[in-house]
């Protein structure tokens, strides 16, 4: 066997410097574009923290989390975030109470009972509905659902969390249905065949085999839906009321975190005032809530993706 000899490189095969530099430049430009995503995250966190820090120079963290009133724009100002959190959680809970059962059952129907043709028709419609702008849903809450509820329960105020929550729920149904259906479709056919071979019916197969197998995907859909409900702005800003109110009673009017931010932004608060800073502190709380739901949701979904 011949020992490797060091050879010279013929110019016809040598590295083309100009071409390599050009390729490197292109790669660099593309990488900078990808870095915009990272920069955006840092900018969001940076801006929220920066303004919140000024806010927490005036307001103690303890007061922020324990005071039961939120009145930063009043003469006698209180800075307790809890009334806004309660409004956010109540409207989100109503939305989920509507969307989770209906969305899940619709998904099971679509995945296990509907014919191929029905599914192929309905699925795009669901995707279409996910894209409807939310300001439109605010209109529905204010002018259809609340009047309808008032005809059943006349004492209901015009701005209330129930109407806003229900509409938000209707808004989220296509989202949950579509994502859960995806999870159920991902369950391999062999599992269903195994169940049918034992003499199980469609319903038994759907409930006892497919749903449990797809459970983490379905749960991920719920969690991402919660995050969506918590961060939803226009429906609650329009229909749930603008008054911070520490209550979990859906029949009352109450502001959410998002509605408060909209209310302040609509007004004319000077840059740097405590009122201006307060929306960033509220935003920071909102960001922390949605981020934790998103992380859990993605984690759960990743787990189910790995399982097949």
């Amino acid at each position: 066997m011949q020992a490797p000899v060091q050879l010279t490189i013929s110019p016809r095969l040598a590295k083309n410097i100009r071409r390599n530099v050009k390729e490197r430049m292109i790669e660099l430009i593309l990488m900078l574009a990808a870095l915009v995503a990272v920069a955006t995250t840092f900018a969001i966190v940076g801006v929220l923290l920066y303004e919140s820090l000024s806010f927490f120079k005036t307001v103690s963290v303890v007061e922020f989390f324990t005071d039961t009133q939120w009145t930063p724009l009043f003469e006698e100002a209180h800075y307790g975030i809890m009334p806004l959190v309660s409004g956010t959680l109540t409207t989100s809970a109503i939305a989920l109470a509507v969307a989770v059962p209906i969305g899940t059952i619709a998904a099971i129907f679509l995945s296990e009972f509907a014919s191929h043709k029905t599914r192929e028709t309905i699925k795009p419609i669901l995707e279409l509905l996910v894209g409807v702008p939310t300001v439109v849903f605010g209109y529905f809450a204010l002018f259809f659902v609340t009047p309808l509820l008032q005809s059943i329960y006349p004492e209901l105020p015009s701005f209330n969390m129930l109407g806003a929550g229900i509409v938000m729920g209707i808004m989220i149904i296509p989202y949950i249905a579509s994502m859960s259906e995806d999870a159920m479709r991902a369950v391999p056919m062999s599992m269903r065949e195994g169940s049918y071979a034992m003499g199980a019916t469609r319903f038994q197969t759907a409930i006892k085999v497919v749903t449990p197998a797809a459970v983490s995907g379905i749960v991920a859909a719920y969690i991402l839906a919660i995050s969506r409900a918590v961060g939803e702005t226009m429906v609650v800003a329009i229909a749930a009321g603008q008054q911070p109110n520490l209550t979990f009673n859906p029949l009352e009017s109450a502001a959410t975190i998002t509605a408060y931010i909209v209310q302040v932004a609509m007004g004319d608060l000077p840059h740097g005032s405590i009122g201006y800073q307060s929306i960033f502190a509220a935003g920071l709380v909102l960001m922390a809530m949605t981020l934790s739901f998103n992380i859990i949701g993605h984690w759960v979904r990743k787990k189910y993706r790995e399982s097949y």
Binding site: A37, P101, V230, V262
Partner: protein, 312 residues
Amino acid sequence: MEHKASVLENLADVRAMIKRHKRNDTLFAAIGLLCLMFGLVTLMLLFWQLIADGYPKFNIDFLTEFPSRRAGRAGLLSAWVGSLLVMVVTFLTAVPVGVAAGLYLEEYAPKNWFTDLIEINVSNLAGVPSIIYGLLALGLFVYMLDFGQSILTAGLTLGLLILPIVIVSTREAIRSIPVSIREAAYGVGATKWQVVYDHVFKYSYGGILTGIIIGMARALGETAPIITIGALTFIAFLPPSPITTEPPFLNFEWLSSGFTVMPIQMFNWLSRPDHAFHVNAAATGALIIIVTLLMNGTAIWLRYKIRKNIKW
């Protein structure tokens, strides 16, 4: 379950059980259909109601008049022009950056912690509530960079907002291009960029377009971030025209102009106590829905067509 043995012995019992199970099947199918229809039909009814409410304003004047104190005369001119101009800025920021980022992550990025960081970032950004983008824009664009409450600020904000949508759809479209095509191109001596541009990008163009349309539809309907940067709601003027009659024929003053957009105009009108304005709000809502549904419908149709045409 504890009666299993005896049930199986008795044929009549088995038949009764099967019958019962079949009844459950039908019952559940009915409930399922009902739930599905509840979701779909309610939404359809609401859209229909919105169109019916806004019907009196479905005329050309509504699109050519400025907003007014008098509901009957008020129109959408400044709002739809504002939406259009904001969308131009959004398109010009989100599309090049998003597509480039998608190409980088899918074709160039090495598998390491840094790439993981970018990926986690993108998927998290997709879940950040839109109003948070509004706060980012208020702090960063309006005050720190001093862009003011302008079309530029709004366009950049929505551009960042839809960036994850464009990136994710670009990556998904690219992923469907088989390795064999890339190897074929490398095999005849193409450089990486030639492979990426001549093949990967060109063949996934349809899928990328789908994502862009969905993103733009989302941007068109977004309200919260635009309110947060403090867009004015009563605008009775148009921004300076981007095209002029004198050289250089382009004018960028419109970028720093004040503006309003259609969803904000709708929000403004439906917050008024006077019912006459609610008709305007409904008409605006109907217009927004029709345009976004058309855009999303086009995107979904396009995606369906691409799926059907895949030949590899």
